[in-house]
Amino acid sequence: MNCDQVQEQLCEYIDGRIDAPTGAEVAAHLSTCADCAAVAASLRSTVNLLAAQTEVEPPIGFTTRVMAHVQEQALQPTGRQRWVAWMRVNLPMQAAAVVLVAVLGVLLYQKQNSRTQRQPEPMSQRSEEQMKSPSAEKPALERPAPLNAPSADLREGGESSSRQRAQETEQERRIEGGGASALAPAAPTPSTESGAVDREIVLRLRDTSSEAKARADRLEPSALRKESRSALPPQVQKSLAEARGRARESGEAQVVWLNFPIDAYEQFNQDLAASGVVESNVAHHSQIAAAARSGGNLRVKVTVLPPASESK
């Protein structure tokens, strides 16, 4: 064992933590090597001096002071406890907020849905006049007029901005007052109880004079062809044709109530388009849907207006 190897073992040798054979080898080397022996002696004296050092006493009341801090900390909530407390306070509020948002969402969705269902026909089908005076349209949407009751148009007739509209309502009043019975056989009158119609249509008859007449003639054959294929009951076709004739002859608006199978509605529309311009087509969708479900008839109120040039 050389000096380096011995000095590596010196600490364990001094501390008595070395195994007996190695300790004997170190002791043998120290007895022959003055340098290593001096180092060993110096280290042993250092260890003895350090070991002889007395311990320093902590200050009086050290434990009490530490425990006071510990108790203080024990009373403070831990991070987890703080989190649980925060959740206990805020969780109900958050849950309530979520429920509120969900309820509002459902309500908005339902409102949007019902608005979509009640949405009237596309704007392109309405006359500009009606778009400018929504007050004339509103009563028809909200309250279908029974035959015997004064219509909303009648009540608001004086307020109508359009002179033509005023004429129309005037004519309607006359029809409802005396002419209704004449139309009754052709158009089954809705009972006052049910009172409602599925659609209210205003048809402006096409002008048959001069250029308009020529155009109408061009349209007539196809219209006639369509009419010949019409699935509308003959009585309905007859009532509609009579109303058109009266409107042309008298130059006044004619109201006719029609009742036909809902399957014939498309054909009915084509017939209307062939004879004039639909100025207003107000649908009561819920009732149409009910009729479609039951496979029943459609009730339509048609106001036939004379051609613009003939109206009084």
Binding site: Q7, E8, L10, C11, E12, D15, R17, V39, S42, L43, S45, T46, V47, N48, L49, L50, A51, Q53, T54, E55, V56, E57, P58, P59, F62, T63, R65, V66, M67, H69, V70, Q71, Q73, A74
Partner: protein, 211 residues
């Protein structure tokens, strides 16, 4: 570095309690009680380990009594805060010594200016410390100051080893566990630390200062 005159007692030979003073309740039982919410059980642990922890802090922090008091107090508070993580894999003393060593190292670095002041005091040549009429107490004080001054010249790694093994009586294995290093590294560091201290403390070998 103020030190009360009547606070010193002889050091124990090792970190563990002697057989005669074997506590009725083990450290582990106390820890379990504290973990279960019995704060009072922590007092037993404080009383049992305060002296070792305080002396470790005192030696590591340059012999500053006030610093050591604050540091030891903080070490116990740190131990209390993290006692829930103690699973009993090591001895409680090993665990809290590890906390103390880490904390003392951090505190020493953070208080560098104060530490420098202590080092300046410590680098005074121990051979120059003399009194006209040395009594036994004064000689003891001189030796203690010289030892602390010599310790202050060591690096943290070497000081830790010397304090743990030569002054606190820890085994090589305990020191390795506390410092998280292999036993062979402990042996190497211990040899170098002792070799560094020996010439500084040589004047005090043999019990009396050699002029």
């Amino acid at each position: 570095m103020a030190l009360p005159g009547n606070i010193c007692v002889n050091r124990e030979s090792n970190l563990g309690a002697s057989a005669a003073a074997q506590p009725a309740v083990s450290d582990w039982e106390c820890v379990r009680k504290v973990q279960a919410g019995d704060t009072a059980a922590f007092e037993t642990l404080v009383q049992r380990h305060q002296k070792k922890i305080f002396n470790l802090a005192y030696r590591m922090l340059g012999g500053d009594y006030e610093e050591a008091t604050e540091a030891a107090q903080e070490v116990f508070l740190l131990a209390y805060r993290s006692i829930g993580q103690f699973r009993g894999d090591a001895n409680f003393s090993t665990w809290i010594f590890r906390i103390a060593l880490n904390y003392a190292g951090t505190r020493r670095r953070n208080l560098k200016s104060r530490q420098q002041k202590n080092v300046e005091l410590g680098v005074i040549d121990p051979a120059d410390t003399h009194t006209p009429e040395p009594s036994a107490v004064v000689e003891q004080m001189e030796t203690r100051n010289a030892v602390q001054a010599a310790l202050n010249t060591l690096s943290d790694e070497h000081r830790q080893i010397v304090v743990l093994i030569d002054m606190q009586g820890a085994s090589y294995e305990d020191a390795a566990a506390m410092l998280g290093i292999p036993v062979n590294t402990v042996k190497t560091r211990l040899f170098r630390a002792r070799r560094a201290l020996a010439p500084k403390l040589a004047p005090f070998f043999g019990g009396r200062k050699k002029l």
